[in-house]
Structure formats: C-alpha cells, structure tokens
Symmetry: C2
Subunit: 342 residues, 2 copies
DNA sequence: AATCAATATGGTAGCGCTACCAATAGTGAC
DNA sequence: GTCACTATTGGTAGCGCTACCATATTGATT
C-alpha cells in the first residue's frame, strides 16, 4: 500500500531519516517541509497536512546540529557551575533549565571548581558548540577565559555576585552588603562576641571581610575565624565549633558561610548541651530547603536563586533572538530570615 | 607587517573565524589544518607548528556543530534526570559529567518529573541534537518515548533500577532486594512494629511493596504506610511521624524512602522527647552526605551513585567510539549502613 | 630499475539543514 | 484590464567541518 521510497545510498551520514526523505514522502520540496515544521503559518493547509502526516508516519526528528549550522542559531545555552552536589546553586540551575525548556532551548552543563586550566578547557569546549548564550555562576576574573568569552561574541550572564565590570550581563547581589547587614542585624539583637565559619571560596571570603569591617565600625572585637576550605559539610561545621569553644569560649554568635556548615555547628552545640540561641546564636547562608525545618529553625540569608535562574534565561533568550535587554545589570538583593537560631 | 588576509564576505554565517581562515594564515589547505588540530600525528612537524601558531594567534576555536555534522559524531551525551534539587542523583550526574569531560565529551541536561507529554518533548529535543549517547535516570516504561529511543539507534544507559528488558544498557540495583533486606535487617535487630514513609515515585513504591511482602513472610503485621507524594522534605517527614503517632502509637521502627524524610521523622521524634532508636528506630535511603553526621547518626541504604555515573560514562563512550560493551547489564548492588538510629 | 608501501598533502563532495532570491498565482484597487 | 501587493512554493548556495579518494614524495625492497 505504501509507495516505494528510494533512499539515496551513501557511505557517509548517520543513516537516519532526513528532511529530504520526509519531503519526498509528502511530495513537496525540502524547503517547504522545513517551513511546515518550523513556520507552519507560511505553508498552505493542504501541504502542511501532507508534511505533518509524513513526519508522523516516519517519526522524523529534525537534526538541530545541521539546522544550527545553517542558521547560526544553536538553540543551546551553556551553564558553568561549581560542583553541584548539595549546592546552593541547584535551585538556580533548575529554574534556568525549566525556563529554557519552555522556550525550546537546551541546557549544556559544565562544571568547574577544578584548576584554572580546566576552566579554560571547559570554556573552549563550550565555545566550540557555539551556544546562543552562556550562564556563569559567579563572575569571571580577568584572564584567558574572560578574553575568550569576550572574543566569542556570545551573550553572557554572570550571576550570584556584583561587579562594576561584567563581561556582558549581570544578575546578582552584593556579598559586601550581606556581611555588613548580618553584622548589624546580630548587633541589634544584642550579640557582641562573634565567630565566622566559612569556606574558602572568594564570595564567602568577601562576606567575611565585610562582616569584620562592620564589627570594627561597631567598635567590637574581631571575630574568631575558621576556614573550612572547600569542605562545606556538616562535619566541618561540627569541628569548627569544637575548635571555637576550645580557643575562644567567649564566642556567643556565629555567622556561617553556608546552611550546611551552620547545621553542623548547631548539631555540635546541641550535643554539648548548649542552648540555641541563648548560649550560642547561629546564622547560616543560602536558606536551604531544610533551614526552616530544623529544630530550632535556622536563621539564614535568603537569596532568590530561582529568580536569578528565570531572569537569566529570559535575558539570554532575548539576546539570542536579537532583542536587547533593557536592564542588563540587576541587583536582586537578599533578605535576612530571622528564625529561632538567633 | 602582517600579510593581508582577504575574508570572504557573505551575509550568512556567524562571522566567526573558521578553519579556512586559520589554514590560509598558516599557508596550508583547510584539511591539513583540520588534521593538525585533530590528529597531529598525521602532519609533519613543520606544518604542524605553522598551524598551531595560527591557532594561537587568532584564538580559533573549532565549530563542533559543523564537525559533528560532517563526521556524524557530536561528542555530546544527554542525561535525563528528575528534578535535581537535593536529589540523590546529583552525585551520579556529577561523576558522569566529570568522566565525560575527561574524555572530551559534553553533557547536555534534561529534566523530567513533569507530565508524560513533557517527557516526550524532552526526548525529541534530545534526539534532535543527535547525541552520541543518552543517560536515563531510572528505566523508561514502554511508550512513545521508548519507541523513539529505540528507533533513534543512539546508545542508551538506563540506571538506578533493574529490568529484564532494558532499552540497551543498564546499570542499576534491585529495589525489591532493598525492601526485603531492610525488613529482614530490622527484624534481626528485634523491631516488630513498622511504619513506611515514602514518596510516590515508582521506585519508592516498589521498595515499599517488597518491604511489606517480607514482613508478611516474617508473619508480622503490615506497616502503617504514609505517602508524602512528591514532597521529599523534612517537613513531610515531621508530619508523617505526627500522623503515625496519632493513628498507630505502637509503631516502633520506620523505613523512609529518603534520608531527608528520615531526618524529618527524626526531628519530630526528638522534639516529642522520643529516644532514638530506643523508642523509635529510623532507617533512611540514599545515604546522603549528612546522614553520617546527624545526631544520632542515621542508618541508611547506601547506593554508590558515583560508581554508576562513572560506569555509565565509560559504557556510553565505549559505544560511541564503536567498541562493544562486554557486560551491558550490571547490578551494582547496595549496602545497608547500620548507624545509631536503628 | 622497477615495485611496493608508507607518509604527507591536497581536492572534492558532501553532512542535513536554512537564508536568500526567484517565480508563480491570487487579490483587490483603480 | 492593468498595477501593486501578498501568499505560496521552489531552487540554489552555502553554514564549517570531515570522509574519502587522489596525488606526490620518499625510502625500502626485490
């Protein structure tokens, strides 16, 4: 019953169905089949139906790599993130991915938090795909990577931080403001003797510096500072508090650079019989999903990460489709969530 | 000083540097430049150096979409995962991504846990990119999606589960065995009255069924069963325990379908003054990074997710490069980690 | 000296799709 | 009936790269 279809035989190619096959089946020119699929409004109802039938009958899926090559539009967005297990960035990435999916873009993931040379390799791999946009977690310091991105001409959003000199677009907030506001907030709640438990990443360091500067301004003693390196774990938090209690028993309030660390501090405090916040106040960062549910609930600094992801998606898509972005630098701010632990 | 290079002017194309430009600069044919970049051993040292210089001078990054189109090798692997925030799959995805990066493959991410039609759209988007391999979290039930994958001919690994009829390759473990082993394990530790707190995903359900079947075999009463739906949160865990205590105060041990739920149960138990495990024993699933650090530490079922990711990467790469995989179906097993909460 | 093989380089022809332009038919205005 | 205009369809020529084949060139082999 079905008309005989002659497939062009060649030793090249993937052997998969092509637009030409579908067009032949539908009895139209390849370009008409292309339009029927991509811009159906430009095709008459009759031919449209023929093409759609042919697509349905064959299960044809257009090759987007070929389409992208022809149109210089890959419909691909790349995201660069640090290691993601249990990370505060996951919500952002997920929101980004959802918004991109809605708009028929695909997310390509790259992970850094390795050496700097790895980062350059990663950026090269990304640029090699010619994505329509690049999402960066954090801001990229001057260097080869930054130069490559600039030279590539691909729209870029940097996120989760602020700088006067972004590569292109920027959606973030001020870590300095956070450090300062947390110090003032704790001060208002009558805490006077502080410790700082933080990871070694640059943003945590900056929050810490601002925190310390604010304490100085308040004429308070500098906090005890524990650097847990890259290990943002409950265990590190526990060890950090143990060390603080040993070397500085007067400490009465602790600002942690992540909620997981804060939770560790909390566990250690509880296992030593300290009452929270009476004997020890604890402030986290990130407002992880579990923060509100801990006992006592954990005070934290909330960043609307989903909002950053959605906004970034919109910005990148706008730019990919040739629209300009009205406000390419946005400070999304933060809020200090006061709960039982302070 | 620099020789004049005439760029072909056309209104098409991205305007970016191409292999032709680099070849012209180096004074060789495009194909020789291609070989110098991809298979340097095939080019004489003299020309190799010329090409490398030209690449360095211009900052040329090859267009992999074009390369992929020509060679039918995209060097792209797609991964399909459920929503990822705080999920047990993150370790696997991260290991997968690292291993792929090492081998110069790129990861494309797709998220499901939406409707079934969404899943089909996602698979179509993925197949449209012609990835060299597809990683699936879980197994894909018969349906349009499965048919599409089968028809595409792309290597596929299903993971985190077992089935006699995989699409292609399979790296997983038996949820039935877990349910059964946990029941027997708890029985040996002298617990007799159980509850089951679980999410509604199919794998959690299956663990639950096996758990209940094992209890029956042990001639014990069926457990109280709380379904928290898709909400695998601490809060749901707390509410679940509250409900259990109200309707079935005799319950003495609880098997939770995730560590986060288990943690919620633990918090609720503690806030009610119950001693763990004396008054209430708790078993989680997934062995999250925090499980060992809780107080008391949480017993859990450990899956080596990183191993799954690494193995999947190796399998997919092997298949992408034309090698066959000796053992395409692997049961990586699991282990019950006995800690203080049971 | 003729033969063979291996190495190095280049030319040609696509991969599967879409931008751009051309051609045709149909519409309404005048 | 002519003109301008729109809607619909198709042809052509790439996008930037690599597979495949052809051609030198060299050295070793008989």
């Amino acid at each position: 019953m079905s008309e005989p279809i002659t497939f062009k035989k060649t030793r090249r190619g993937s052997g998969a169905l092509t637009l030409r096959d579908v067009a032949a089946l539908a009895g139209v020119a390849p370009i008409t089949a292309s339009r029927a699929i991509n811009t159906p409004s430009q095709v008459s109802p009759l031919l449209l139906k023929k093409v759609q039938d042919a697509v349905a009958r064959t299960g044809y899926v257009p090759n987007r790599a070929a389409g992208g090559l022809a149109s210089s539009r890959s419909r691909l967005i790349a995201a660069v993130t640090p290691s993601t297990v249990m990370s505060v960035f996951m919500g952002t990435i997920e929101a980004l991915n959802s918004a991109l999916f809605e708009a028929d873009y695909q997310l390509m993931l790259g992970q850094t938090s390795y050496s700097l040379s790895r980062e350059e390799t990663l950026l090269e791999a990304i640029i090699g795909r010619r994505p329509d946009g690049i999402f960066l977690t954090g801001i990229l310091p001057p260097g080869k990577g930054r130069t490559m991105l600039l030279a590539s001409g691909i729209p870029v959003v940097e996120t989760w931080d602020l700088t006067p000199t972004p590569i292109d677009m920027l959606i973030g907030f001020s870590h300095d403001d956070i450090g300062r506001d947390v110090a003032n907030h704790m001060y208002k709640r009558s805490y006077r003797s502080f410790a700082l438990v933080r990871a070694s990443d640059e943003r945590a360091v900056r929050r810490g510096i601002a925190f310390k500067a604010a304490l100085t301004k308040l004429r308070l003693k500098q906090p005890v500072e524990i650097n847990v390196g890259a290990s943002r774990t409950i265990k590190s938090g526990r060890e950090a508090l143990a060390q603080i209690l040993k070397t500085a028993p007067q400490v009465h309030a602790i600002f942690c650079s992540s909620d997981l660390l804060a939770f560790g501090v909390m566990l250690e405090a509880q296992s030593r019989g300290l009452r929270i916040p009476h004997d020890m106040a604890i402030m986290g960062f990130g407002d992880a999903p579990f923060a509100a549910d801990l006992v006592p609930s954990l005070s934290s600094v909330r960043i609307n990460g989903e909002n950053i992801g959605q906004l970034a998606a919109r910005y990148l898509i706008d730019r990919a489709e040739g629209r300009s972005v009205a406000e390419p630098i946005v400070n999304v701010g933060f809020s200090i969530i006061e709960r039982e632990s302070t």
